[in-house]
Symmetry: C2
Subunit: 423 residues, 2 copies
C-alpha cells in the first residue's frame, strides 16, 4: 500500500530535518515577541468560500461529514486567524503578534516544490497600520532565513506596496475600480509578450515608456509606504536583503498595501515565502463589526528544505542537526548479564538526569554492543560488569576511557559536556 500522491512519509532523518526547520522558525519568531496559536485542521467550507478566492477554493479537500456538514481541510491559516481575532479581540493587547506552524492541504497538480499536504509558518501582526509594522514583519522574514545560515547572497526579499500603484493610477485620473484589472497586467509583465502588454496599457492611455519610468524610481519616490519602509530597514542594517520592485503585486484578492515575496537569488526555486497587508479581511470575516488593520506572511517547508539541501553550507548544518537528533548520548554496554538489574537501575538514574541513553534489551556480545553504540552515533559508552559498583566510561571518538564509581557518573558527564561546550 502506498501513500496518496502529494503526501509524504517522514522517516526519522526527514522528520529530524523538518524538526530543525520548525525549531528555527519558532525560536526566531519568539525573538520578535511573537506568540504561538493554532486552529482546527478541519473548518466549515464557507470560511474559505467567503474569502480565499477562486484558485484556493478550486483546490479544497472538501466533503460532507457524518453530521451532514460541508467541511474542508484548511488550505491556509488566514481565515481561521481572522475568525479567532474577531471573536476575542478585546481580550488581547494590540498589536497582536501571533505565529503558527501547521499543516495545510491543497489539491494541486503534482510538481517540484508543490505537494498536497505541506507545513507553513504563518506570522501575523494585527492592529497596527503604521509602515513600522510592515518593516517589523519584513525584518522577521529576513531573520527567519538568516536563522538557517542563509545570507544576502542566497536570498532576496522583493517588496512593493499596492498603494504605490493606486497613487500612480490616481495621478493619471484612472478610476480605482479599474485597479484589479490593471494589476493583472503588472503581475504578468515578466511572462507576457511585450507587444501584448503595450496593447493592454493603451486601454489605460498609458505607454510602456511611462510604465518603465515608474518602475525605475527609487523606493522613496514610488509612493505608498515604501519610503518609510526602506528607511526603517536601513536603520536595522537589513537593507541589503531587500529589493523594492513594483512588479510584485501577488495574486490573492485580499491584499491592500505592502506585499512581498522571498526568492533564492539565482531564482532556481519557487517563492520561499510571501505575504502582505490585508487591512479589510478581519472586518469581512467578523460577525461583530471588528475592524483591525493586519498583515502577515507564510513560509512553507517544501521549497525551503529543497533550498537548504541544495546549498552546501546549509546542507551541512541540516545534516549535523539531523544526525544529532537521531543519536543517544550514552550507550550502556552490559559486559556481564549477571549485572543487568544494576544496569537497569543505572540507566534509569541517567535518564532521570536528562541523559539520552540506549542499551541492548537482550544479551549480546560486548563487541556487538559497541558496534551498535557506534552505529547509533552515541558519544560515550558506559561499560558495566564484574567491577560493579565501578564502571568504565569510554569516549567513543577518542577511545579514551576511565574507571569510576557509577555514583559519580552523572556529575562526571556534566563536567565532560561543559568542557566540550567550552572548547
Amino acid at each position: 500500500m502506498q501513500t496518496l500522491p502529494g503526501f509524504r512519509d517522514f522517516y526519522p532523518a526527514d522528520c529530524a530535518a523538518r524538526r530543525c526547520v520548525f525549531d528555527t522558525w519558532r525560536e526566531v519568531a519568539r525573538r520578535y515577541g511573537f506568540v504561538e496559536m493554532d486552529g482546527p485542521t478541519l473548518e466549515p467550507v464557507e470560511l474559505y468560500k467567503k474569502k480565499s478566492g477562486g484558485e484556493l477554493v478550486g483546490q479544497l479537500f472538501d466533503f460532507v461529514d457524518k453530521g451532514e456538514r460541508h467541511v474542508a481541510l484548511r488550505p491556509e491559516m488566514t481565515p481561521t486567524l481572522a475568525r479567532m481575532v474577531a471573536a476575542k479581540e478585546r481580550e488581547f493587547k494590540k498589536p497582536l503578534k501571533w505565529f503558527s506552524i501547521a499543516n495545510y492541504f491543497r489539491y494541486e497538480k503534482q510538481q517540484k516544490g508543490r505537494l498536497r499536504e505541506f507545513t507553513q509558518l504563518n506570522c501575523d501582526l494585527i492592529g497596527e497600520a503604521s509602515p513600522a509594522a510592515d518593516a517589523e514583519m519584513i525584518a522577521l522574514a529576513i531573520d527567519l532565513m538568516r536563522g538557517f545560515g542563509l545570507g544576502a547572497e542566497d536570498f532576496v526579499v522583493r517588496v512593493n506596496d499596492r498603494n504605490a500603484w493606486m497613487q500612480f493610477l490616481a495621478a493619471r485620473n484612472i478610476a480605482a475600480e479599474r485597479a484589479p484589472d490593471f494589476l493583472q497586467i503588472i503581475d504578468k509583465l515578466e511572462r507576457e509578450e511585450p507587444g501584448v502588454t503595450t496593447k493592454k496599457l493603451a486601454d489605460y492611455n498609458l505607454t510602456r515608456v511611462e510604465l518603465d519610468d515608474f518602475l525605475a524610481r527609487p523606493p522613496a519616490e514610488l509612493g505608498g509606504a515604501l519610503g518609510p519602509l526602506a528607511a526603517d530597514l536601513e536603520a536595522r542594517g537589513l537593507r541589503e536583503f531587500v529589493e523594492f520592485d513594483p512588479k510584485i503585486v501577488r495574486g490573492l484578492a485580499y491584499y491592500t498595501g505592502v506585499v512581498f515575496e522571498i526568492f533564492d537569488r539565482p531564482r532556481k526555486f519557487r517563492a520561499l515565502a510571501g505575504g502582505g497587508r490585508y487591512d479589510n479581511l478581519i472586518a469581512t470575516l467578523s460577525d461583530n463589526a471588528v475592524d483591525l488593520p493586519a498583515l502577515g506572511f507564510a513560509v512553507g517547508d517544501v521549497v525551503l528544505l529543497e533550498l537548504l539541501r541544495a546549498l552546501p553550507h546549509t546542507a551541512a548544518k541540516l545534516a549535523a542537526a539531523t544526525r544529532a537528533a537521531g543519536s543517544p548520548e550514552l550507550y550502556v554496554v552490559i559486559a556481564d548479564e549477571t549485572f543487568r538489574p544494576q544496569a537497569l537501575g543505572l540507566i534509569r538514574a541517567l535518564r532521570d538526569a536528562g541523559r539520552r541513553v540506549d542499551f541492548s534489551l537482550t544479551a549480546a556480545k560486548v563487541g556487538k554492543q559497541f558496534q551498535t553504540a557506534e552505529t547509533l552515533g552515541a558519544t560515550h559508552a558506559v561499560v558495566l560488569g564484574a567491577e560493579w559498583p565501578q564502571v568504565k566510561l569510554k569516549t567513543l571518538a577518542t577511545r579514551a576511557e576511565e574507571t569510576l564509581s557509577h555514583i559519580e557518573l552523572p556529575a562526571r558527564l556534566s563536567r565532560s559536556n561543559a568542557a566540550a561546550r567550552a572548547t
Copy 2:
C-alpha cells in the same frame, strides 16, 4: 462563524500549554533513544479497513477526493507506521524505537475527554520480542507522566499479558479460538451484573471462584511475560507505578501479548494512555512478507491536559511555562523618538544575539511603554534616548537600574541571566 463541534481553537495560552506537553513528550522519548517520525494526515481508507477494526472504521472522517480516491483522515498512527516499517525495514537497525506527535480525527460523540481532532504521542518499539522490550516501553510511559511532575500518588499503570489468559485457557483445555469471546467477558467484568458473568463462565465450564482465584495471583504466577516484566521494573525502581491486573485486556483486535493502560489514581478521568504488543500486525499490513514483533502505546493531549490542570502542583508548572512562552525577555523603551533609528539597530543586535525583544512600533509616552512591558511580562526594559550611546537597563521586578553603553548590553544580559540561573 464557529469552529466545528469537537474541534478546537488554540489561542496563545492554550497553545503554550499544549506546546509544554509536546516538548516534555519529545524530551522524555529522546532520553529513551526514540527518534521522531511522521506520516501523512490523509491515507487511503483501505489502510484502516484492513486492520483498525469495527469501532474506528465507523468513526472515520472519510470521503472521495477530486481524483476519485476513497481517503480518510488518520484516526491512529499504527497502520501508517506498520506500512512504513514494512516498506523499508532493511534500512534500519533493529529494534526500531520510533515516536510521533501528530493529530488524529475520529467522528465521536462529544463528551468530556473526547474530541474529534486531538493530538497523540505514539511510541513504538519494533523488532524485539523479549519482555525486556515491554518493560522498556512501560518504563517510558511512566517517565512520560513523571516528566510533568506526576508521582505514584497521581497515576498508575495497569498491566496485563493476554498470553496469561491463553495459558489459563490452555490449562483448562479450552480451545484458543474461543479466546476472543472469553476476553470479552473479562473486559466487561467490572461493569456487568455478577450473575450474568457467572452464567457466561459456565459456557466454559468455569466458576467465578476459579476466576477470582486466578485474578488474585501475584504477577510471576499469572504466566505470560508478567514475571520477567515485574522483575525488570523492580530493578529500575519503577515497581510502585505499576499494578498487574489480569482484567486489563483492551478492545483493539490486534493486541497479542502485554497490554497496559494508565489512569489517574482516583479514576476521575478517562484513560491517560494505552497500548500493548501487536506482534502480527506488521506482517498483516506488509506487501513483502516482512514479519516483526512490535509493541506501542499512545498518550493523548486531551485527558492529560485535563489532569494537569486539575492537580495543583502540575497546574502551577503548566501556568509558569505558559507565562514564560508568551513573554519577551526585553522591552526596548524609546524615550526620545529622534533615536528610533538607533533603537531599531540595537533591537536587531539583541535579537541577533538570541534575545526575545519587543518594542512599540509607533511613538508612545514612556509611561505607556513601561506599562506594555509589564503587561507582556518582560523581565527587563532597556531605555534609550538622549543619553545615547548610553542606555538604561532596568530590572522590572526590582526596579533596579543601571546605565551602560549599548555595546556592553548583550554581554551584560548574559551575565545577568547566568547569575539568575545560578541562584
